[in-house]
Point group: C2
Chain length 172, copies 2
């Protein structure tokens, strides 16, 4: 039921943002408060949360889900952001995107209090972004217990890059 509603709400756009990319737009989900709420509840029920100490929200669509999960569970949230967005002492790593390359930064201070993390994003494609965050976390001797996404593009084999479980709501 939830799955069906999510599937109906996600709109697909061919050749966005670049030729050859089949873009899945999750924005219509937020126009349906009951669906959004049920989705957050589902994501927050992943078994890893019994051990997770903090959520890592990936810039920017990941923020929309991570914030809800953090509030629902009453656990801390920290962020991984695109270049130039975060002040302070940062740890930065680069990654290959589905289209192009980029880097992500986290505030070292924000990672200090916690050891075990769940990463939250809207979509898992090639897994480059998530692997980048995982590399940041591991470089400080800390642990990623799992990834939560709404959509998994299973043909792109993103899960193969990751050494932790992926909890997705819908797979294309």
């Amino acid at each position: 039921m939830l799955l069906e509603e999510i599937d109906k709400s996600i709109k697909t756009y061919p050749d966005f943002p670049e030729k050859g990319i089949f873009f899945r737009d999750i924005m219509p989900i937020f126009s349906k408060p009951e669906l959004f709420s049920e989705l957050i509840e589902n994501m927050a029920s992943a078994p890893i949360f019994k051990d997770v100490e903090a959520i890592i929200a990936i810039d920017a669509r990941g923020f929309l889900f991570a914030s809800g999960i953090a509030l629902k569970l009453g656990i801390p949230m920290i962020v991984a952001r695109k270049p130039g967005k975060l002040p302070g002492h940062l740890i930065t790593k680069s990654y290959e995107l589905e289209y192009g390359s980029n880097s992500l930064s986290m505030q070292i201070e924000s990672l200090k209090p916690f050891q075990k993390y769940a990463i939250v994003d809207d979509l898992l494609a090639t897994g480059g972004t998530v692997q980048c965050v995982s590399n940041i976390v591991k470089s400080l001797g800390k642990e990623v217990l799992g990834l939560l996404v709404v959509i998994e593009l299973s043909k792109l084999n993103g899960t193969l890059k990751l050494d932790f479980p992926v909890f997705s709501q819908i797979s294309y």
Copy 2:
């Protein structure tokens, strides 16, 4: 009490992201689940919400608060995003930033079902970003009932640009 806790949590960075800018970093708030939850409750209690039909979340830090408020109140959320981020038929307007200039886009489809909006962002500086979103909304014959932010930089007189009430948690 809430105010004091928020004030203690916000870290300031001189000359970020550019010389002369005194950056207020709200990220530490999210590391404190009780504070974040209380803050969302406070923002969601603004009187305009008795009439608001949907929340507009501003890319990207606005997402972190808007999502929580939308879930708390069970009302729809739509987004205003930076260039190149949203697919579909867009309405785009440009604005002057505290540092530089930029533009924001919204999906026309997302605005169709609702008439009265609240805008949510992390911080009100010169008001350019919010005015830009307000211009988009008005150009479709719709209405902004108010702005919710955590921080207001009162010396920059952002409120003077806006013809609707501003609900801020803390003012510098």
